[in-house]
């Protein structure tokens, strides 16, 4: 067996062993452990993604499942999201909240990755005065940057704090400008790559060009999904704690996972019906 095959076969189990000590207690630790043992979940999810894309868009129901027992708080998903969407300073789609629990010596850390919940009954879309944020055909909450007036009502309405405002910062604006060197904020649009969100190139030229002055949020990497590629946070998760797929597919991994009893959604009491599930 080649090294690559070995890795593919056992990597998930290794990570599960690292981050899921409950297995030692005899509790079923890893979700769909059998499935994980056979192949990397990424391979399965990508196959299921392609299967879902063969259906009409309105018949797909994208959901994300995050296994909190497997999350090791590495923030790789956060960084991958920033890199994928070319997020400027001050804009974040998927932070990972960290909480220290217990007192010494019985101390542990809890991690909570928080993408947009893509709520089915989304308070943010309801309050938008110009329908700049809405559910697309697949139910994902998107933002039309050219329509958004930047009132931030959606930010106030979101119970998960999943939206941030693009104030027009660039990574290089504090740097000095030297002849022949590509530095300085005014040159940023030339070499800070354009975001490809929603299938368009957003160059953020100037301080008034969208998405500057707009509210921004996670969109499940729709631009990747349409090409059959999983969201960046999902593929980057080294603990294989993030799963993505079509919940309308009865055979998909995500359907398997969300039908287990140890699944919760955040702030259920608000009736927002999130499409992000957490395994606890």
């Amino acid at each position: 067996m080649t090294e690559a095959n070995l890795l593919q076969k056992y990597a998930s189990e290794v990570f599960a062993g690292l981050v899921a000590p409950v297995a030692e207690l005899g509790i079923s630790a890893a979700p769909a452990a059998d499935a994980l043992a056979k192949e990397d979940v990424l391979v399965r999810m990508e196959r299921e993604l392609k299967r879902a894309l063969e259906k009409p868009a309105s018949e797909r129901r994208w959901v994300m499942v995050i296994d909190l027992r497997r999350c090791i708080g590495c923030h790789a998903c956060t960084v991958a999201c920033v890199a994928e969407n070319k997020l400027p300073p001050g804009v974040v789609y998927r932070p990972v909240m960290t909480e220290e629990v217990g007192t010494y010596p019985n101390v542990t850390m809890k991690f909570l990755p928080r993408p947009c919940m893509q709520c089915e009954k989304s308070p943010c879309t309801e309050v938008c005065p110009v329908t700049a944020t809405y559910h697309d055909e697949e139910g994902v909450v998107v933002v039309d940057y050219e329509q958004c007036i930047g009132c931030r009502a959606c930010m106030a309405a979101c119970p998960y704090g999943a939206r941030t405002f693009d104030f027009g910062y660039t990574y290089t604006e504090q740097l000095p400008v030297f002849d022949g060197a590509i530095v300085g904020g005014e040159n940023a649009a030339g070499y800070e790559h354009a975001s490809q969100e929603y299938g368009e190139a957003w160059k953020r030229e100037g301080r008034h060009e969208s998405p500057v002055g707009n509210v921004r949020k996670c969109h499940f990497c729709l631009h990747r999904i349409k090409d059959g590629i999983l969201p960046a946070c999902t593929t980057t998760c080294i603990g294989r704690a993030t799963y993505f797929g079509d919940a309308n597919d009865p055979d998909s991994l995500v359907t398997e996972l969300i039908n287990k009893p140890n699944v919760i959604r955040l702030k259920e009491e608000l009736g927002t019906e999130p499409r992000v599930y957490y395994i606890v």
Binding site: A156, G161, F167
Partner: protein, 380 residues
């Protein structure tokens, strides 16, 4: 003298404000201190304040034209004019807060009417038209039925738009500090209270031509309205805060503690309570002092400052509780913070808005209203 000083204050405020307006328009919002976690700051609060002031001024104009309260006779036009100035000032304040103010037309041509914000933009636009129409009829047909009809529609609209602002915040179920049924009830009371304060200022300082007895009686009546609304507002405040503290919901505790003991606690205790409530109520409860034009005007000013502080202390604390615990520490970047103190640029823009309102009201009273009166008279 007070008028000259007021003109100077208005002009200086506008002058200082032009710098902020320039920065905001040409350099964007980076020099503002609101951010992604506290997304609504001073400008939104001043919109609530000025829009409430406009609604209140209109309601008091109705005391003259609709309810024929003798003490208010002859003051209707001035209050309608004050409403016509303060409402655009408020809309300018909220306009500066928009990331893309050039797209405001979309709210009219492509509105989403499930959005209360869209409804409010339409509501305030209709209200602005109603104020202008009321003022027109105040000159051309003050005693005719059409004036009464327009004023009634305007009066009801004023209550609705004032209450609607409360709903705009209160409708956010995610924000416990705002999400109380009392909020839309409070705002029309706030509106009439701030309208009375503005009228104390205007009648006390800028309307010396009013017949002396009527002026004294009107100031005393305004003092009584102020005391009554202040007591009502205090009751709302105590009920809201004690209920929040007793209930103990985390987000509410964070918000109320921010107001009472937070970094801007002086704004609550010093400005809203002492300057904006206790001092005016104690002074205005003395008929002799309340009927003194200078004192009444000064108390009107104190009250207005207190009401403006109260709006800030409604808007900002509603956002200081993290929507997800640990969010602010999870990712670092500019404007990803739960701390908020308005920046100099924000104060400057607010200064421009206030300067516009002060000068607008004064110029209108001194020149425009008189000119319009002569013009309509000549036409007749």
């Amino acid at each position: 003298m007070t008028k000259k000083i007021s003109y100077a204050v208005g002009a200086l405020a506008l002058l200082f404000g032009l710098w902020g307006v320039y920065i905001r328009l040409f350099e964007g919002e980076q020099s503002a201190n609101y951010g992604s976690y506290i997304g609504w700051g001073l400008w939104v609060a001043m919109y609530l304040f000025l829009a409430g002031l406009a609604a209140g001024a209109y309601m008091l104009a109705a005391f003259d034209y609709l309810f024929n309260v003798p003490q208010f006779k002859g003051t209707g036009k001035t209050m309608l004019w004050a409403a016509l100035v303060t409402l655009p000032a408020g809309l300018a304040s909220i306009g500066m807060d928009l990331g893309h103010m050039d797209r405001i037309w979309k709210v009219y041509l492509q509105p989403n009417f499930t959005s209360f914000l869209a409804i409010m933009v339409w509501g305030y636009t209709i209200f602005l038209i109603l104020i202008a129409v009321s003022l027109y009829f105040a000159f051309t047909a003050p005693d005719k039925k059409v004036m009464k009809v327009v004023m009634w529609i305007g009066f009801v609209t004023a209550i609705l738009v004032a209450g609607g602002v409360g709903f705009l915040l209160g409708g956010n179920a995610a924000r416990l500090y705002w999400h109380v049924g009392l909020l839309p009830v409070q705002f029309p009371v706030f509106a009439i209270a701030s309208g009375a304060a503005l009228m104390l200022l205007i009648v006390g300082w800028f309307m010396p031509n009013l017949e002396e007895k009527q002026r004294g009686d009107l100031l005393w009546l305004l003092a009584i309205i102020t005391i009554a609304t202040s007591v009502a507002k205090l009751y709302f405040l105590v009920a809201d805060y004690t209920q929040s503290l007793y209930g103990g919901a985390t987000d509410n505790l964070i918000a109320v503690n921010y107001v009472l003991n937070g970094p801007h606690a002086f704004m609550f205790w010093g400005v809203q309570i002492v300057l904006g409530l206790l001092i005016p109520v104690l002074v205005l409860a003395q008929p002799k002092l309340a009927k003194n034009g200078f004192v009444a005007g000064l108390m009107g000013l104190f009250l207005l400052i207190g009401y403006a502080a109260a709006r800030i202390l409604i808007v900002v604390p509603g956002q200081v509780a993290e929507m997800m615990p640990g969010q602010a520490a999870a990712f670092h970047g500019p404007k990803l913070t739960l701390e908020y103190t308005p920046s100099l640029m924000e104060w400057s823009v607010t200064s421009a808005v206030m300067g516009f309102a002060i000068l607008g009201i004064l110029i209108g009273m001194d020149y425009l209203l008189g000119y319009l009166a002569r013009f309509t008279e000549a036409k007749k």
